[in-house]
């Protein structure tokens, strides 16, 4: 039987979709809406507080893993959606979608190591 990399891609896609389903709404609430709505103190997003939260090796690892899964999930889904929107050049769409995800992953590596 022909070997395929589909199970791996599909597994990553499903993992990313699940992680996104559980945490993206609360992440948006905390990072973007909580302070303007008056639900959170502005100190929550302060430089000092975020640094304190993110400097622990475990939180760096979790942050990286979670955002990695979500961004590759989004990239894969957008690639498939490109076809649905009538763009038939899948090679180009895949290059753009996965390219953006790869660039995001690299930037995140630089950021997490630099914290």
């Amino acid at each position: 039987m022909a070997r395929s990399n589909k199970p791996i891609v599909w597994g990553l896609f499903a993992a990313g979709g699940t992680v996104a389903a559980f945490i993206v709404p609360v992440l948006i609430l905390i990072t973007c809406l909580g302070v303007p709505l008056g639900l959170l103190s502005a100190d929550v997003l302060s430089y000092e507080h975020l640094l304190e939260l993110l400097q622990h090796p475990l939180s760096k690892l979790v942050t990286f893993a979670v955002l990695f899964l979500i961004i590759w999930h989004a990239a894969h889904r957008m690639r498939i959606t490109g076809h649905d929107l009538g763009i038939r050049n899948d090679t180009l769409v895949a290059f753009v979608c996965y390219g953006v995800a790869a660039a995001g992953t690299l930037l995140m590596l630089v950021a997490v190591f630099g914290l």
């Binding site: 499903a14 979709g17 699940t18 996104a20 389903a21 559980f22 945490i23 993206v24 709404p25 609360v26 992440l27 948006i28 609430l29 905390i30 990072t31 973007c32 809406l33 909580g34 303007p36 959170l40 929550v44 997003l45 430089y47 975020l50 640094l51 939260l53 993110l54 942050t63 955002l67 979500i70 961004i71 999930h73 989004a74 990239a75 889904r77 957008m78 498939i80 959606t81 649905d84 929107l85 009538g86 953006v100 995800a101 995001g104 930037l107 995140m108 630089v110 950021a111 997490v112 190591f113 630099g114 914290l115």
Partner: protein
């Protein structure tokens, strides 16, 4: 003489506007764009954070305007729609058996929403206090 095959005439880019079901499908798929852009912004914020206090505060100020806030509201709607659609298919994606019987789909979906509340509350308390 062979008959010509029937090819249904569908607009290539706007077919999904023709039925509410297709629109819901496209809304589900396009949620990935909003989630993806949001995560890219988050990564940018992390990067600016790693560059120091001044860089981070410039980034924060630029994200606080009406454009940033409007994006956040729209992204929130799509993110919740993603959660809803993702949980709705869990009984089909991973059917469960318990004591020889199939666990009803509604219970599997409800368990996911219960987990969602726990995860959200935990993260809110961890970051917010």
């Amino acid at each position: 003489m062979t008959r010509r095959p029937y090819i249904r005439d569908l607009p290539r880019t706007s077919w999904w506007l023709e039925q509410p079901r297709y629109i819901r499908y496209m809304a589900r798929e396009i949620s990935a764009a909003f989630i993806g852009i949001y995560v890219l912004l988050l990564i940018t914020g992390l990067f600016r954070l790693s560059q120091g206090k001044a860089a981070y505060e410039t980034f924060l100020a630029s994200a606080e305007g009406p454009v940033g806030l409007s994006f956040a509201v729209i992204a929130m709607v799509f993110a919740i729609y993603h959660t809803y659609t993702w949980f709705q298919v869990t009984p089909k994606a991973m059917p469960l058996m318990f004591a020889g019987k199939r666990v009803p789909g509604a219970i599997i979906v409800a368990a996911h929403w219960f987990g969602f509340v726990i995860v959200s509350a935990a993260l809110w308390l961890l970051v917010g206090s």
